[in-house]
């Protein structure tokens, strides 16, 4: 093997979205020499697509809000499957993470008294989302990007080199984590670095580092209809699996209720929930606001019973209940799916989302500028004058890499950390809108902080990378060139997307998922024969051929876990097991790579019981809907 380009760092962050950049800022601020490695250009990460806002209980619009209420909403949204400690930390720390952004230059929309404005969103009891129109994700990325530039300017002053302690390696893809066996445990591993290639030149690169933070985002590109960009190929999930870590809750995939359905080439592109938060309503082809028929029992007391009450809520939220268009996303997605299936859909197979009859045109243009722009440019629809056609789109994976709630460390792989969408647990079975951007900031910071702490404690006890692993990784990466013409990676990808969409989609059935697993096996065999033409310089066919391994691994995790879980909860709906079961709430399904390296093993884990003071934030009657009798707190004596 020829000599490979090498770089040595204290902490390597893979991924440059919100979580990755926040982790890098923290690690560098703790004195670590830090590298960020990302597949796209710096500042283009999928976080820019986030529209609605960042959930944080600052209480600027309704002073009744506090972290306890946010925690409660998050647990309800996730149907109590969340790692409660993560939900607790998230709710407690989100306000500080938002305020901190202002000190780095972020410009949020303001309240009348000059504070950060907050908007309503599905599942949040109070107006809670800090926002900038409907382009909050862009503001978040740009602010973090500019903070990184600020840190580099400091280094230029101090060392004459802006990249002395923080460098972004852009358009580089990591294909393997490098590890050595951990002497301290039987089957554990310890991080020594990461192996990847430059997209531009195709040349290989090795990062030597005792700590790696995975912040690579989600898995949407395994599905045909998705709001996710090409980068979302499950890289971090697969890298972690291959290094010996586990993925949890992979059966829970969020289908956002409102994606564009027409024209076909933009099918799946997100239509922000803010449309509904600001007054937009859902109607079927008969003109009926059908969401009133779909309020589930667990939420019966919390949502308006009539259109009149729902409409009053926008101006008088203290004396009215919110309209059911603002139910958590899983409920709305299933309702739309059912309406279309029963023949009450629009001509292009969606339902109508109408804001034109609800708000004046200039207000729509001011509050939802990028939606106005998106529909005008891509679908030739003026949303101030006519309704949009929308339908569910694969948006987010709640499951992900198993992490320690406090430190974001990955059990089983020393030195490996994960934050953001790639990590599991925080959102349980369903994520509330707005909780993603706050998740990125809270746990991105924690991952960077504890990775730095680990490296500091490690001192000089770093281990060298194993040359054998580098050679193997290089051989794996060039393999598609030897398979010339055998299988077209684009065709394999399209079939994978169709399979997951049709057989492991919003509504799941046992037989279909078993069929999906059979097809995934066939696709794995074909992906191994995927061939590419041309050379290694900026070759998208080659890049896709390598990404297929990751997409197939996470797809298998999703299908296996979904087949196993015989209940319906959040982002996992079984037609053959429609009810939610308190016994299944006590089961966490963990996926790990089998000893033969080619398959996924499923293990059942028990979640930690929720702390008493957090349980006390809920009424006993509400807890009964989720918990088994044995888990319920003792009834208070003397209470009625």
């Amino acid at each position: 093997m020829s000599e490979v380009e090498r770089h040595s760092y204290d902490v390597v962050v893979i991924g440059a979205g919100g979580a990755g950049l926040r982790a890098a800022i923290e690690a560098r601020s703790q004195g670590m020499r830090t590298a960020v490695v990302c597949k796209s250009l710096f500042g283009k990460a999928h976080t820019v697509m986030a529209e609605g806002g960042i959930a944080a209980s600052m209480g600027n619009v309704n002073s009744n809000d506090n972290w306890q209420v946010h925690f409660r909403d998050t647990m309800r949204g996730g149907k109590f499957l969340n790692y409660w400690r993560m939900a607790e930390l998230h709710a407690q720390e989100a306000p500080d993470r938002v305020w901190e952004l202002e000190t780095w230059g972020a410009l949020f929309d303001r309240t009348g008294d000059g504070r950060i404005s907050q908007r309503n969103f599905g599942g949040h009891e109070y107006p809670r989302l800090a926002h900038v129109g409907d382009r909050t994700g862009l503001e978040l990325i740009r602010t973090l990007q500019q903070k990184i530039v600020a840190l580099q300017q400091e280094d230029e002053q101090e060392f004459g080199d802006p990249e002395a302690r923080l460098k972004v390696f852009q358009e580089a893809t990591v294909t393997r984590l490098l590890t050595v066996p951990d002497s301290g445990s039987e089957d554990g591993a310890r991080i020594t670095g990461a192996f990847g290639y430059w997209r531009e030149s195709g040349r290989f690169v090795v990062f030597e580092a005792p700590a790696v933070v995975l912040a690579t985002g989600g898995i949407g590109k395994s599905f045909k209809v998705t709001s996710n960009s090409w980068e979302y190929t499950g890289d971090g999930q697969a890298l972690a699996l291959l290094a010996g870590a586990s993925l949890i809750n992979m059966e829970f995939v969020q289908f956002h209720p409102t994606g564009m359905v027409w024209p076909p080439s933009v099918k799946g592109i997100l239509v922000t929930e803010s449309v509904r938060g600001d007054g937009g309503v859902l109607r079927n082809s008969e003109g009926k606001r059908f969401m009133f028929d779909y309020i589930p029992d667990v939420f019966k007391e919390k949502y308006a019973k009539s259109e009149e009450e729902g409409d009053r809520w926008y101006t008088d939220p203290d004396n009215n209940r919110r309209p059911p268009e603002l139910l958590p996303r899983d409920e709305v997605a299933r309702a739309i799916n059912a309406e279309v299936k029963e023949g009450r859909g629009t001509p292009h197979g969606g339902v109508y989302l109408d804001v034109s009859s609800r708000l004046p045109a200039d207000v729509i243009r001011r509050k939802l500028p990028s939606m106005h722009h998106q529909f005008k440019e891509l679908a030739d629809v003026d949303i101030t004058a006519e309704p949009m056609e929308v339908g569910p789109t694969c948006h987010y994976v709640m499951g992900g890499i198993e992490v320690d709630p406090d430190t974001a460390a990955t059990p089983g792989v020393l030195g490996l950390y994960a934050a953001g969408e790639v990590a599991g647990g925080m959102h349980g079975s369903n994520r509330l809108g707005g909780n993603s951007l706050s998740d990125l900031l809270v746990f991105g910071r924690r991952a960077g902080l504890y990775a730095a702490e680990y490296v500091t404690e490690l001192g000089d006890a770093r281990r060298d990378v194993d040359q054998g692993q580098i050679d193997e990784a290089a051989a794996e990466a060039v393999a598609p060139f030897a398979n010339e013409g055998a299988e077209n990676p684009y065709s394999v990808h399209q079939e994978l997307q169709q399979t997951m969409n049709d057989l492991v989609g919003i509504i799941r059935r046992e037989g279909e998922m078993a069929e999906a697993l059979t097809r995934l096996e066939e696709l794995k065999a074909r992906a191994a024969k995927a061939g590419v033409e041309g050379h290694r310089q900026y070759n998208p066919g080659w890049h896709l051929a390598l990404d297929l391994r990751n997409m197939l691994l996470v797809s298998e995790c999703i299908a296996k876990a979904a087949l196993e879980r015989e209940e319906s909860r959040g982002g996992h709906t079984r037609e053959d097991h429609p009810g939610m079961s308190a016994d299944w709430r006590k089961v966490v399904l963990a996926c790990a790579l089998a000893a033969d390296d080619g398959h996924i093993d499923l293990v059942r884990r028990s979640p930690e019981p929720m702390r008493a003071d957090l349980l006390a934030l809920f009424d006993r009657d509400e807890l009964k809907k989720y918990l088994t009798d044995a888990e319920l707190p003792a009834e208070e004596e003397g209470s009625d």
Partner: protein, 249 residues
């Protein structure tokens, strides 16, 4: 509804290249990026193109379509006639890496030269107070998706490679204006705009505004007000005197 379109796509690298002809299927509602992707999947698997969100939000897929700087993902095929040959070439102002992908590192280098947001000393996180009307000016500029189409089209650097050293381009002059108009920024940015970023090179032909996919009024709202601020300062006798005295020290 589908038809066969004639495409000419620039293929090559830093050493050499050529326009290559393709005949490719087009379906209803598609954008130019869809057609580029179809070429990759069916005829040219190694055709290099940058893209991410495919919704006009990330600014990755900048190129020139029939000579006009555009985002590939926001250019609908229905804006062309079915007989027309559609020519897609990389952005001309930046060095080609391969096919439609260019080396945009110029922009990152310029970004690093703009001193970052400088809040007033002692103002704590959580205590920032700003009025909506005061943040709106800078908010308009923060809509920028950094597609670099304005940088690409600006003739100061498009036609004069030598100016790249002294001129930061509309994107970064607008960034300076954004910070200068930030209600809480305390840094002095006007002198640097002129002396270090080449504001004076801009002769307000508004080409940048015309190509901006976010419809930001770069010239009217950022560059001209910035020029006015610099000019006021230059010709204000008190500022002039202050500068003189300070320089003497």
């Amino acid at each position: 509804m589908s038809y066969k379109a004639n495409f000419r796509v620039w293929r090559g690298d830093v050493d050499s290249g050529e326009l290559r002809d393709y005949t490719v299927e087009v379906n209803e509602g598609e954008v130019v990026l869809d057609i580029i992707h179809r070429l990759q999947a069916t005829q040219a698997p190694d055709l290099a193109v940058r893209w991410n969100c495919k919704a006009g939000k990330c600014g990755s897929c900048s190129a020139e379509i029939n000579g006009r700087p555009r985002l590939l993902c926001m250019t609908r095929m229905s804006t062309f006639s079915q007989e027309e040959t559609i020519t897609v070439t990389p952005m001309r102002t930046f060095p080609v890496i391969r096919d439609l992908v260019t080396d945009v590192s110029f922009n990152y280098a310029k970004a690093r030269k703009v001193p970052s947001f400088t809040p007033p000393e002692g103002l704590k996180a959580g205590e920032y107070r700003m009025q909506q009307v005061d943040v709106e000016r800078s908010q308009e500029f923060r809509k920028c998706i950094e597609c670099y189409l304005c940088q690409n089209t600006c003739h100061v650097i498009r036609d004069f490679e030598d100016n790249k050293e002294a001129f930061s381009g509309p994107r970064y002059l607008m960034r300076i204006a954004e910070l200068d108009m930030h209600p809480l920024d305390v840094a002095d940015r006007q002198k640097a705009a002129q002396d270090e970023h080449g504001l004076g090179y801009c002769n307000i032909t508004k080409c940048c505004t015309e190509v901006c996919p976010e419809h930001i009024k770069i010239t009217d709202n950022a560059l001209i007000p910035m020029k006015e601020r610099v000019a006021d300062r230059k010709y204000d006798p008190i500022v002039w005197l202050g500068d003189k005295i300070r320089r003497r020290k």
